[in-house]
Subunit: 154 residues, 2 copies
């Protein structure tokens, strides 16, 4: 029985096993961490946008999309909903009319400042399963993983 047929029948390589553990853990703790935000009426993407605006300042929708790894069409809707809730404000750029800059409103800033500590607490609670040394190692491995450049496929 060659390797190919073994795989098809359920054999898992070291790489695949690790990936499954990685994926499962992420989905699990992501659900736990963001359920808190949901209680404040914010989705993960909405929180990501508020966080970027708060820490980086006003940004174009394109920048925001790149930052939270979401498509342009999606950003339109996320900003729509944040705008409906009065948390952000759109402003068409005068230098280059293609760009729309998104600004935090006072209401948005107030909500974010209220929620951020709770979010950080939730993250720290989840991560506290690891020692500080392990957190560092996890971060290092993930950076190495995510930074992998394409093009090494034969």
């Amino acid at each position: 029985m060659d390797k190919k047929s073994i795989k098809g029948l359920g054999f898992k390589s070291r790489a695949v096993t690790s990936f499954l553990q990685y994926m499962w853990a992420y989905e699990t703790i992501k659900a736990r961490i963001f359920s808190m935000l949901n209680k404040y009426g914010l989705t993960a993407s909405q929180f990501g946008v508020l966080d970027a605006l708060f820490h980086l300042g006003s940004r174009s929708q394109r920048d925001l999309g790149t930052h939270i790894l979401k498509s342009g069409g999606n950003i339109t809707m996320v900003i729509d909903n944040l705008e409906k809730a009065g948390l952000v404000r759109r402003e068409r750029s005068v230098e280059d009319r293609r760009f729309i800059y998104v600004h935090l409103t006072d209401k948005g800033k107030k909500l974010f400042v209220e929620i951020l500590p709770l979010h950080l607490k939730a993250v720290e609670d989840e991560m506290s399963a690891l020692t500080s040394r392990e957190m560092e190692e996890l971060g290092r491995l993930c950076v190495k993983l995510g930074s992998k450049k394409g093009g090494d496929r034969k």
Copy 2:
């Protein structure tokens, strides 16, 4: 300046930094890995269901939902779409009529067997950024993270 105000202004603890690296890497490589499946018309959830049915055998919708960490309402739609595509088949249980068992059709089995090696190859390509020892360590850390039980919040 106390710790709370430092945090609010951008200070990131070791736990938060590691979590952000973890989240960013996951979203990045997940998009790369599942873009291949999308070309075959399968979403990540649909593939997860086919995988469970193939490796574990026929299951109830509830079991499938638990397995891929998705809500009941979602499973209804995912199975709907797989059924429309002729890849799975529903069967109401006769012992307990609340349960609906989902079965792979021949067409579904054929497609899955065709795609699985490509998916495994994509996973291994991504994970190849790490050494075997690092993969093992990553898996260990993730299991520790995800297994954390609630209830240690004061």
